[in-house]
Subunit: 231 residues, 4 copies
């Protein structure tokens, strides 16, 4: 079942080592089908160089395994909370990529210092608080998802397709698994440049709002003119 | 038309990922023909690994597309302002390369800390101000070009073939597209070493003028003696 | 003799350059046999690209060479002290990997700033003191081992499979040579992210104990649920 | 003439891009023959990927070209001063490698923070002053060599096979061209780790003298026991 989605999710997972975003098995990608009944996710702890499309695990949104020989990623419950919270999210990525994780560990949101950031993410990339002892001890992964969803209540997931979980690492998403991986790459590059930028000028201020608006809307929304869509 | 120039500009574009200066499609190279009637530029948002010489777009200096199936780079208007400002400029590069962009985001010009810098760029690499709200909202890319041209009024473009645009990133140029890419590589390396250098010694001072003169004129002008040109 | 172990130790050694953990011959891996009578270690100063399984040196725990045409690694005496101290240790790695060595040189233990660290190492990664003049001048490598063993007295080697030796570099270990190399890779990544993290937020605090417990026990012990072991 | 030496110097030059020590043509290696009459050096400004053994230039110690179709490296006069100063030097390397150059630009000598450094270089790696205006304007490259030689008067070139020239970059040497390249690689790694180390602990102190002695003499001199030489 869902052979095409499995293949897409497999391919998206394989992009993580290709872009240098994962060490060992420290990452996972999922994608949801159009009816939003089932989603497909990487199996837990399986090496990328041994992965094949058939290893992908099919799950429902109640957390039941529908098909697959492996256990799903240990972060599956986080993915479920995000899929349930927004129909805009078609794919989700979790990594421990170096610079995004360094920001997450530092407990700081990433200010928007320039157009590389503004082209994809509108405003500062939020770092949500660490979970409480109770939230950690019971349903840890699900509570991670709930905390993200709580932060995004009333916000546009596609205008800010990334979040940092304090003391842990980043999640990104997009309209499908491929776009979620694209955003994970952007996040890592933006995180690295923001740290460099503060190193070069400790008093640096975020870019002005009008520049953020310009770059974001150059690529998003009905007046977008970047790329080939309108030609 | 302009098949040779298209091929040169294509090859120069392909050097950007080879030298690690671009992620995804975050860069573009153009080159102008000898009569300076038409220039050739990368299409907007097309992946480097799918690019071919025939994808290059031919434009005139009024911003009209002369030939090509794709939209030109969204930064085309910036390129035009530069070509119109100086006949010395035969090729132009824009990237979001990591360290040059980090300096641009920080809003600081890059001091000349040594001979690696002085061999190619005479003096500090300027960071021009962020555009005003009005300049951003209307003709953003063209105003970016105008701001650069305003800064370089009365200056020698080939003695300083690079500029940083605050909150955005670098542009470099040269006598042709290939040399513009060469300067983009130099800029990235110089930007990285300048940041490292300040990290190692927070009170570091720029190199003395006589050293800058020596290295720059060892490679440029009629008394140059680096390389094989005079043998 | 011990052909299978030699091959395992050879393969583990070859992972060091593959993961970018060694320059030239600055690293060595050993593994001990099940009876814990003999262990196999890389020869001293032999290039990785010329290494073969037959080059591995078989040693006993008194430091006598049992088989092999080469001298064993100059750090052999350190490996012996560790093997003698704990039957949990089946393989040992020493490297001069960039970030772990930078922390070792700085004389600081690596605080646990997040779950990447907590997934493998329980608490801060200790940096043991520099040896005294007497300890250095006589039996230097053996005293390095003794100092590590002294620190770990009463502690669980597998809960903290890494140590930094001040002014020198890291040692890691595991249930076999392969796992010891795995931990060397984790250590390098964790060391890099901890330095980044302090750069981004100079006042960063270690992750809370409950998060460390959660991640460590998600992967270790009888209630572990990461990966495929329980499926 | 000197076909074997040309080949060795060619091979040593090709190691510079392989180890990531040069961008474009920013480096050169030379080696001297046993009679110390002639030395062989890379031609100036020739791309590494077009270099062949026959391109090497044969020079005498008065700076006359003895054989070769190209101009020798523009740094030839610096190499000559070093060869004339010490018969211990059989090969010389100049690069603009990132971290060594960053230290050179910062004007600081590299303190010895650990055993990676101590294994190859005895004590802090000196940064010599910038040349005066007069020294720069006339015989710049030769004066660079003279300044290094002045610093090393009465010192052992092989105990400290590296120097940083302020605002410029490093030179390294060794008993032949291959060893000089080896030392250039060591220098770059040591320079990177020293900067990291100061970042992690701003109050870090150099390693104690007894540790430096131990590691240096473990590899050098008649009591050396690292590697296979004595087996």
């Amino acid at each position: 079942m869902l052979e095409e989605l499995k293949y897409q999710v497999y391919e998206a997972n394989m992009k993580l080592p290709e872009y240098g975003l994962v060490t060992f098995t420290w990452g996972n990608v999922s994608g949801i089908d159009k009816e939003r009944e089932y989603f497909v996710i990487k199996p837990s702890g399986v090496d990328y160089d041994k992965l094949s499309p058939e290893d992908m695990v099919v799950m429902d949104l109640e957390g039941n395994k529908v098909e697959g020989k492996w256990n799903p990623s240990s972060d599956t419950a986080t993915h479920i909370e995000l899929y349930k919270a927004s129909r805009d999210i078609g794919g989700i990525v979790h990594t421990h990529s170096t610079w995004a994780t360094s920001w997450a560990q530092s407990g700081r949101s990433i200010p928007c210092y320039g157009t590389t950031h503004a082209d994809y993410m509108y405003g500062e990339i939020p770092c949500v608080r660490c979970l409480t002892r109770e939230e950690i001890e019971d349903e840890y992964e699900r509570n991670t998802g709930r905390l993200i969803v709580e932060y995004f209540k009333g916000k546009d997931y596609l205008a800010m397709p990334a979040v940092l979980c304090k003391d842990h690492g980043p999640f990104t998403w997009g309209k499908d698994a491929k776009e979620a991986v694209h955003n994970a790459v952007v996040l890592e590059e933006v995180a690295k440049m923001a740290a460099n930028c503060e190193l070069i000028n400790r008093k640096v201020q975020p870019a002005p709002q009008e520049l953020l608006d310009k770059h974001y809307f150059r690529k998003h929304g009905e007046n977008a003119y970047y790329g080939q869509k309108r030609s």
